[in-house]
């Protein structure tokens, strides 16, 4: 400082001694000198003095000093020293940070740096000029230029980003500085890039294109990964800037196999070292390590957050599982000594890594906590969720994780519901997810009620089968009179005064999701004692509390669901009946008004924003993301439905269907139509088959009759044969009369021979018989043929006879004619002979 003061003295040497000049006058003199002095050294001294003054008299220096300083930058480029003074001075002027020296100066307002920034960048060439000095290798110049640009960007981010983009190779040049061997420069460039990449995806992409991921990972590794210092944190913040909401860079990150480089950083190394050295070894969670780790987790979440492109999320989730990043995260969940906020963020990260990906969800479900006996990690997590001593953020994270585990995971949903069903009660010793959730639902801790209700609700989201399964859940009552269903218990709790508002909100959400698209649940609810009366009372009440309004709106929604998904199977509780109740007791307009209370509540817009559960305080936990989704889809439908009933309870047509519902109906119609045609074709083919069947039957009958005939013939022939045989025997008896006298033996032999002969003869006869029948047949045929021929002959005979008769007749005619002609001829002849004779 002494040196600087002496510098000022030499520069201001011409002023009158003994009189203290004001700051403005001093600055004016200095500015004059910078402008007009021909000697470089004079100008340099003046710049040095301006720099010294700029911290305490920022406004004076800034107001007058800018033009000369720019002039220096334009003309004195060959002198590194003066340039560094000029850049430093400008940096002091535009920085948003407040110097200690100016703390007591009331003229310095908060945004004075911003105003000077605006002045400076009014001419874009100023920025180009400063950017040009990045090429200067001299340490002072380069560093000052980097710091000045960083301050400018911090104050006027948008404008500077545009200017950097337009300046030729601007971003590339800045990226080159990241490889500067001087660490100070490199670290300052990191800060610059963090500012530069904020919210500008074009710059983010160029930075990534210029190998930023490689550079950053190299630096992080050199600096000791998560155990490293603040430079590691800076790198990770920049990495986060590049990835957040930038799907092109996310894809590049994934394609470039950078997730694989990220994964090892999550492996906690306190287990593989010597355990005793943990106290001051790697295992210690220093504040810096906590910050670094927090950033690392943020980087993971930036890749798989639900608002990203689904395609990118899925691809990243796959890689995170394969690269064992998920496993490392789960290990952190189950290891001891992890600070609470890191644990919370890790749970959030695990949540998003598994969300909607079956393999990852399965992997999470298989993780076991190292407890005695080992319990599933999910159970251990849920235990902390319903434990009122746990931190709110942690409990929220667990619920989010549980929701993500169940998201599009019907098997997971079923597994949770199964633990509540009586059949699975065999494993009483170990705590199940279902038991834990019920404990939470009935506990005296309001938050536990809310968390558990929402958790159970997520086992039902888009899963009608589980909605029906859950209806079967029975609970033992303390009195032991009879077990009651979970649904009954829920409606009971809802009506109890001691059950507080937040808990009721939770229950109403659970019931609403339960009832939606599930007529069975609607029926069960309508059968419970006093529920409808309670809902009606709530809607009629005139409480003037914002949170009461919310509950009323939710009651209206629940009632609307009772109409919408009512299958009219309960007499007196049909759609019309409930509508009449609304019309007569509440009024349609009041109902619709109350219904819209839900979307008017600030909790609604808060919950709709993201799937993650975020709450600064416990009282902010009211609505859930999935409930809001359901409400958004059905609110208009219910409002239309209710206002669509007229006083006489006549439902006004299908118009009450929302476009979504009618699309659904159309879809179903299409399906039905398709099935109809299918049925028709099937019927036709069935008919054809029947016809074929009857034909075959007929054929079979014919065959059978034929067979019977043949059998008959067969028996007839046999009978004939026996008859023939008997005849022969008689004949044989006849012929064998004489030999019988020769003795019994002889007789027997002879008889034998005779029998053989007879058999032979019989066979002969048989053959003869067949031959004869055949002959007979042929003869018959011949006969028939002959007969036919005879008939033909007779016919022709008859024809000839007729012809003959005709001919005879004709002949007779002719003869008669002939006779007639003969007489004149004879007369003529005689006359002629007479004439000739006369001559």
């Amino acid at each position: 400082m002494e040196f600087l003061k002496s510098g000022i003295k030499t520069v201001l040497g011409s002023s009158e001694p003994g009189q203290q000049p004001s700051a403005a006058e001093t600055v004016e003199k200095l500015v004059d000198r910078v402008f007009s002095s021909t000697l470089l050294e004079d100008r340099r001294d003046a710049c040095r003095a301006l720099k010294a003054l700029s911290r305490k008299y920022r406004i004076e220096v800034g107001a007058q000093g800018m033009p000369p300083l720019v002039q220096v930058l334009q003309n004195d480029g060959q002198d590194a020293e003066i340039i560094s003074y000029a850049l430093d001075t400008l940096c002091n002027i535009v920085t948003s940070e407040e110097f200690d020296e100016e703390a007591d100066n009331p003229a310095v307002s908060v945004n004075v740096g911003e105003q000077f920034t605006e002045m400076f960048i009014k001419s874009p060439e100023h920025v180009t000029l400063v950017m040009g000095y990045l090429d200067e290798y001299d340490f002072r110049v380069r560093r000052a230029a980097i710091q000045l640009i960083t301050s400018l960007i911090a104050n006027k981010t948008r404008e500077l980003q545009e200017l950097v983009l337009v300046s030729p190779m601007g971003v590339s040049k800045l990226m080159d500085l990241l490889t500067d061997s001087r660490e100070v420069i490199r670290n300052d460039v990191l800060l610059l890039l963090i500012e530069l990449t904020k919210g500008n995806s074009n710059i983010q992409k160029i930075v990534a294109f210029e190998n930023a991921f490689d550079r950053l990972f190299d630096i992080v590794r050199e600096e000791g990964c998560s155990d490293g210092g603040i430079v590691v944190e800076d790198c990770l913040i920049l990495l986060l800037n590049l990835l957040k909401n930038n799907s092109s860079n996310q894809q590049f990150f994934k394609e470039g196999s950078y997730i694989q480089r990220l994964a090892p950083m999550f492996v906690l190394n306190n287990n593989n070292g010597s355990a005793s050295n943990d106290l001051d070894g790697d295992g210690v969670w220093t504040p810096q390590k906590v910050s670094n780790f927090h950033c690392l987790l943020q980087v993971v979440r930036a890749l798989v957050t639900p608002s990203n492109q689904q395609q990118v999320v899925n691809a990243c989730q796959r890689v995170m599982q394969k690269s064992q990043l998920l496993q490392a995260l789960c290990d952190i969940l189950m290891s001891s000594g992890v600070p609470a906020d890191i644990l919370t963020e890790t749970i959030n990260a695990v949540a998003e890594v598994v969300r909607g990906d079956r393999d990852n969800q399965d992997e999470l479900s298989r993780v076991l906590a190292p407890s005695q006996p080992p319990r599933p990690a999910i159970v251990v997590l849920l235990m902390s969720m319903i434990n009122e001593k746990q931190l709110l953020a942690l409990r929220c994270a667990v619920l989010y994780c549980f929701e993500c585990y169940l998201y599009r995971n019907s098997d997971g949903q079923r597994a949770v519901v199964q633990t509540l069903l009586p059949s699975s009660a065999s494993d009483v010793s170990s705590l199940s997810t279902g038991q834990l959730l019920c404990t939470g639902l009935f506990s005296t801790d309001t938050l536990a009620n809310w968390f558990s209700a929402v958790a159970i609700m997520h086992t039902l989201v888009e899963n009608v089968a589980q909605k029906e399964e859950l209806l079967r859940v029975l609970l033992a009552t303390p009195g032991g009179v009879r077990p009651i269903t979970l649904l009954e218990q829920c409606t009971d709790l809802m009506q109890q005064e001691r059950y507080r508002l937040q808990s009721k909100v939770g229950l109403l959400m659970l019931l609403s999701v339960w009832l939606a698209h599930c007529p069975g649940a609607v029926k069960a609810l309508l059968e419970t004692q006093g529920t409808m009366a309670y809902l009606t009372a709530q809607l009629c009440a005139n409480e003037h509390d914002e949170r009461e309004y919310l509950v009323q709106g939710m009651c209206a929604f629940l009632m609307g669901l009772c109409i919408q998904f009512n299958d009219n199977s309960l007499p007196n509780q049909r759609r019309e009946d409930i509508s009449q109740l609304i019309i007569k007791r509440i009024g349609q307009e009041t109902f619709c008004n109350k219904l819209s209370e839900v979307s008017r509540h600030e909790a609604y817009s808060r919950a709709c924003k993201q799937a993650q559960i975020r709450a600064k305080g416990a009282s902010e936990l009211l609505l859930d993301y999935e409930y809001c989704k359901l409400y958004k889809g059905l609110e208009a439908l219910i409002a239309k439905l209710v206002s669509g009933f007229d006083v006489d309870g006549i439902e006004l047509t299908e118009l009450t269907l929302s476009s979504e519902a009618s699309a659904l109906v159309a879809q179903y119609k299409g399906i039905i139509r398709g099935m109809d045609t299918q049925i028709q074709t099937l019927q036709q083919s069935a008919k054809e088959l029947e016809q074929q069947h009857s034909e075959l039957k007929q054929q079979l009958e014919q065959e059978q009759t034929l067979k019977a005939q043949l059998a008959d013939q067969n028996t007839l022939l046999k009978a004939q044969l026996t008859a023939a045989a008997a005849q022969q025997q008689q004949q044989q008896h006849h012929s064998t009369d004489s030999p019988t006298h020769n003795g019994a033996v002889g007789v027997a032999v002879v008889q034998d021979e005779e029998l053989n002969a007879a058999r032979y003869q019989a066979n002969m006869y048989f053959a003869e018989n067949i031959r004869l029948t055949k002959e007979l047949e042929t003869l018959r045929q011949q006969l028939a043929a002959e007969k036919q021929r005879a008939d033909g002959a007779q016919d022709s005979l008859r024809a000839t006879q007729k012809d003959q008769e005709d001919l005879l007749e004709l002949l007779a005619d002719q003869e008669a004619k002939l006779a007639r002609y003969e007489t004149p001829v004879e007369a003529a002849a005689t006359a002629a002979t007479v004439e000739t004779a006369n001559r």
Binding site: N202, K205, N211, D214
Partner: protein, 213 residues
């Protein structure tokens, strides 16, 4: 997935010539007739094999509109290959090639391989630029030329792969400094043993290199 080399490409050319469609056809093997205007730059990647070596292509598809020119210029320097695309059914996209080429040559490293591509070859009935003209332009400026159709996928593979081959040959010849990643080339884990070493050490490098690591 390990690779021997990684090449960075850019695709440039007038708006509407089918740059994004070429990329989509190459990476996803599908054609999207209605495509939004590219905003700034989009990223795509695919693995190919050349000479038995796995080569990863990282491709930046740029916006053709003038408004994005200053952004897309930032991508020239770090790319090893560029596909310069025009539309054979629109003469003006061919006429602008000179400007594009000047721009590219000015901002890129001198070794960048540029492939000239006449796209939409399936629309032969509406052709305004003859194939010979494209060939002549390419010859004149020392580019590789090809006509492609992103719709039918004709020559699309070839365009990307031939560019990669050209780069690969340049590496074999030692033209590229493969250790400078600013050239758009990165060596993977697979490559090092058989890879010709730095340009200076020439053919003898192979034996020397195999000794290390």
């Amino acid at each position: 997935m390990s690779y021997a080399y990684l090449f960075k490409y850019i695709i440039i050319g007038d708006t509407g010539v089918g740059k994004s469609c070429l990329l989509l056809q190459f990476t996803d093997k599908r054609f999207q007739p209605v495509h939004d205007l590219t905003i700034g730059v989009e990223f795509g990647a695919r693995m190919i094999t050349i000479d038995g070596k796995q080569i990863k292509l990282q491709i930046w598809d740029t916006a053709g509109q003038e408004a994005f020119r200053s952004i897309t210029r930032s991508y020239y320097r770090g790319a090893a290959g560029a596909l310069l695309v025009y539309d054979i059914t629109r003469r003006e996209t061919f006429n602008h090639l000179t400007t594009w080429l000047e721009d590219a040559r000015q901002h890129s490293n001198s070794n960048m391989v540029i492939m000239l591509i006449g796209n939409k070859s399936d629309l032969d009935s509406r052709r305004e630029v003859k194939k010979e003209e494209g060939e002549a332009f390419a010859r004149e400026h020392g580019l590789v030329f090809m006509e492609t159709s992103a719709r039918t996928a004709a020559n699309v593979e070839e365009a990307f792969i031939n560019t990669a081959k050209e780069i690969y040959e340049k590496i074999q010849e030692g033209v590229f400094d493969i250790n400078n990643e600013a050239n758009g080339i990165k060596i993977g884990q697979q490559a090092t043993p058989t890879n010709p070493a730095l340009p200076g050490s020439g053919g003898a490098g192979g034996a020397a290199n195999s000794g290390c690591c």
